[in-house]
């Protein structure tokens, strides 16, 4: 089981939990297990086409999965999966 850390504003869609233990051998499988358990999380993380929203980054421990194997990034028991937004702006 991996531990998924739930950002504060999304806890309302995850039974108010700040973290959830889910199964899965890859980042994609972990996210699928998470959204299967808490379906309301899905529209917050994924577009209607099933892609991660543009502002959503996923980290396995300290590594951004975009720079690893994306959805196929291996996740081992005891790993921590974090959901981290992209934020920028300007005038």
């Amino acid at each position: 089981m991996a531990k998924v850390l739930i950002p504060t504003p999304l806890r309302q869609f995850a039974a108010q939990k700040d973290s959830v233990e889910v199964g899965g051998g890859t980042a994609g499988e972990v996210l699928n297990a998470l959204t299967a358990q808490f379906p309301d999380l899905k529209k917050n993380l994924f577009t209607d086409e099933g892609k991660l929203r543009s502002f959503v980054n996923v980290y396995v421990n300290d590594e951004d999965i975009r720079y690893l194997k994306k959805d196929a990034t291996p996740v081992a028991a005891g790993d921590t999966v974090s959901i981290v937004p992209s934020i920028a702006g300007g005038l």
Binding site: P7, T8, N44, P85, I87, A88, G89, G90
Partner: protein, 141 residues
């Protein structure tokens, strides 16, 4: 509604003034309460935008990850993001909207001629097409 405690607001303002004429950025930690969001701590983070920072900012995702860990360790929550608009009003620009995230409050600090002028808070939607203004109260320390 979002309320920012004096010490946190003072830190946000001093960071925004010290980085003028560039944009600054940072995170706000606090609690969701029955009366709304209350910010008790602010953490400046590096503006990592590669280019002219007078009108752009970018936060390294790793810094948000660290902020979230700090918040959890301190029994707080990541409530929002702040950044400055040098010599410009505190509005939510098209660039702000297109690079936002709907999960947090976005506080914009207007810094004019190097000094704090006013602030406003915004709640962008998930499609990054609109941002609602959020009632903001603060006290200067």
């Amino acid at each position: 509604m979002i309320t920012i405690d004096p010490e946190a607001f003072g830190l946000m303002v001093s960071h925004a003034e010290s980085t003028f004429p560039n944009e600054c950025c940072g995170v706000m930690l606090g609690k969701n309460t029955e009366d709304g969001k209350r910010v008790v701590a602010a953490m400046p983070v590096e503006n990592v935008y590669k280019g002219a920072q007078e009108d752009r900012y970018e936060i390294r995702p790793e810094d948000l990850l660290k902020a979230d860990r700090t918040a959890r360790a301190d029994g707080l929550e990541l409530i929002g993001i702040f950044h400055s608009h040098p010599d410009c009003d505190a509005y939510f620009s098209k660039t702000d909207l297109e690079n936002s995230c709907p999960w947090y409050s976005f506080v914009v600090l207007s810094i004019k001629k190097g000094k704090f002028d006013h602030a406003a808070s915004f709640l962008p939607n998930a499609d990054q097409t609109a941002a609602e203004k959020e009632e903001l109260t603060w006290q200067k320390s």
